[in-house]
Symmetry: C2
Subunit: 408 residues, 2 copies
């Protein structure tokens, strides 16, 4: 058939029984005549167990050594899966990130892949081996072990697929595809047969945990045919596509949410050039990611600025903002971590007006007040009170007719 890269995450290889199940799946794909590269994560819980050992022995453990420690997690999985494949008569060989030459920069803990020297893997495949590769890890120019950060195994799989020109990269996970909304909140939510890479990117950046943002970016850059599917049951999953076909394009493909954020407001600041930077700059300097930023012009020559950060960074950000407020002689500072972000996503909104109006009206009809609004070319996000999250998601799912695939 062709060359398939498959990736199985931590839950999918969580114990020996699960590893045997993955070996069965890989053996089946192999028996269908495919050449196979299999990328695996550490067994679920293992990375956390190791991270806790590190934190206990040295709360300020050097990042280089944390990577040496954490990378053993995937190394255990590649060995066990390869053994399981041999037991099924499938000739297989395991490779660590270092052995397969997944070269990265030297930023331990969140290294970026620079290139892959796939000569040895190609040779193995030509000789009929299934190649099992440790996800999440690489090696820098000095042969130091690096890790790509949480979720990095997705990136490893996509990078392998890109380097080798694979026919498909299959990300096996604990859901059977990408849905129009979280099925735990919206029982009518439907699995999408396909979704565009731009929509997938918006979903990932909004915290939908199906795929890691960087792996989707990587797939987009190299146009890797990427499919998300279940490690636990058979099914076609969801294909990420790179070509828009407006004829079949629904306006909106999905509703996403995020309850990991908090918002901060500074009021009564001078309305002058550079003021936004003087407020957001110190927050960024403290390595806090700022997400949404909204600025209103006030009537009296002053202005207000509101922004959101991850909820874990709320206290730190509030302290920094309070300091900034003193320097700028701002009127006051406020914050709220009982918020949720609701987003509608769809490449179709590029060519259709009225999406925002439909969204705002639907929420208003349910008495849900909108606190902040932010838009991109293919996404509209609003911040509402935390308690309205589920109602909001269900309302929007219905307002855009996602339950039956119909356009509004």
């Amino acid at each position: 058939m062709g060359l398939i890269v498959e990736k199985y995450g931590g839950t999918s290889v969580g114990d020996l029984g699960r590893i045997n199940a993955v070996a069965d799946k890989v053996a089946t794909s192999r028996a269908q005549g495919n050449d196979m590269v299999v990328v695996v994560s550490a067994m679920s819980g293992e990375t956390n167990r190791l991270a806790e050992l590190a934190a206990e022995i040295n709360p300020l453990a050097p990042a280089r050594e944390v990577d040496v420690l954490l990378s053993t997690g995937e190394q255990v999985t590649i060995a066990l899966l390869t053994m399981a494949l041999h037991r099924r008569g499938v000739d297989a060989r395991s490779y660590t990130g270092s052995q397969v030459h997944i070269r990265t920069d030297s930023v331990h803990g969140r290294a970026r892949i620079l290139d892959i020297d796939d000569a040895r893997v190609r040779n193995d495949i030509a000789n009929g081996h299934v190649v099992v590769v440790a996800g999440f890890q690489g090696v820098d120019e000095e042969q130091n072990i690096t890790t790509l950060g949480r979720g990095g195994s997705d990136t490893t799989a996509v990078a392998m697929a890109a380097a080798m020109g694979a026919d498909e990269c299959r990300i096996y996970t604990d859901v059977d595809g990408v849905y129009t909304a979280d099925p735990r909140i919206v029982p009518e939510a439907r699995r999408l047969d396909w979704i565009t890479v731009e929509e997938m990117l918006e979903m990932a950046s909004l915290g939908a945990k199906v795929l890691q943002t960087r792996s989707v970016e990587f797939a987009g850059k190299y146009r890797v045919p990427l499919r998300v599917l279940s490690a636990f049951e058979d099914g076609p999953g969801t294909l990420i596509t790179y070509e828009e076909s407006p004829m079949e394009q629904p306006l909106i493909s999905s509703i996403a949410y995020n309850r990991d954020e908090a918002k901060l407001t500074i009021r009564g600041i001078p309305d002058e050039p550079g003021i936004a930077y003087r407020i957001v700059g110190p927050i960024s300097d403290a390595h806090v990611n700022v997400d949404m930023i909204v600025q209103n012009v006030g009537a009296d020559g002053t202005t207000d600025l509101t922004f959101t950060v991850h909820r874990n960074d709320y206290k730190k950000s509030l302290e920094i903002l309070t300091e900034t407020a003193k320097k700028l002689k701002a009127r006051d500072v406020g914050g709220d971590d009982n918020i949720a972000k609701l987003s509608v996503i769809g490449v179709g909104m590029r060519s259709h007006a009225g999406i925002a109006a439909t969204m705002f009206q639907a929420l208003a009809n349910e008495g849900i007040n909108i606190q902040m609004i932010s838009t991109s070319e293919i996404k509209i996000s609003v911040v509402v009170e935390d308690k309205y999250l589920e109602l909001g998601v269900r309302t929007l799912h219905k307002a855009f007719g996602l339950e039956d695939g119909a356009d509004v």
Copy 2:
């Protein structure tokens, strides 16, 4: 001071508390001005845990993959110890066997070290780092991960010391040195301040578990100053020496024992050239190590042959021998796994007669029957009934006056 290679085994790094204790010891050595290379094993129990996972997922797991799996054990320890050193303000860096270029042959599970490319380690040491190296593992020409077999961390330490011309190689273990006999059996046993490498080799080959045979051979070959000492308490330990000084040489340095063997006998075989090979050959072909071999000449043109193997190989060996006996038309085959081997060891016996006589008489006085005898230049071993092991060791320890260091 100088360059010291220290090695800590699995028990010495068995949990985070023990790793912290090792970090304290290393920090102290470092503070005394020593350059340091520290070799560590997997935390005790970890190698067994991993081996059990392998056996469960594939009882015939490929050796290459077993090595990928097992080598994670030491990798965890090097990272944790390096973190603990950093916490003490000691600048340290960890290296896997692959990173330090411990090049081995490709015999997975019991690879032999070919050479070590220590350029990077030297550079680190010149820059003031303590270097922490994973024991037990290496890498072959094809960058496959290899392991040296159980106890291989001792060999790693000695090989590092030899490659770098270290001033001393210190093997930290759970005993505080080499004793005249096992103190659990002989309460009067004394720690030896020094022992010759030949005596240490005999002890290691007899199953005294202080040092692995190969590591002592390696030390002897490169004349590495080697010291065995306790990881748990302070003390001088025992130094392995390379120069004989007959003036101070005791006749016998220690009494060793081994209860891991079984003996097999084949009787009434033709007394003709090549007969020993035809009997022992098939046993060796089954990868069973044969230890002692004794052949007696019979009266009727036939002969008997008795040999010992590891107790784990007893049943397999008995089956093979029974097959051989049919082919050779031997009279009968017998075996016994209730045996123990007692040995007296000492370079002094080269120049003194009467050691064997003293040994046999002492055992006879206690009514202990000798079943087999085997000698080397500096060792006499006898096989006796298993139940006499403790009595035999105590009897010999006393007969050679080892409790007070006096010669007989």
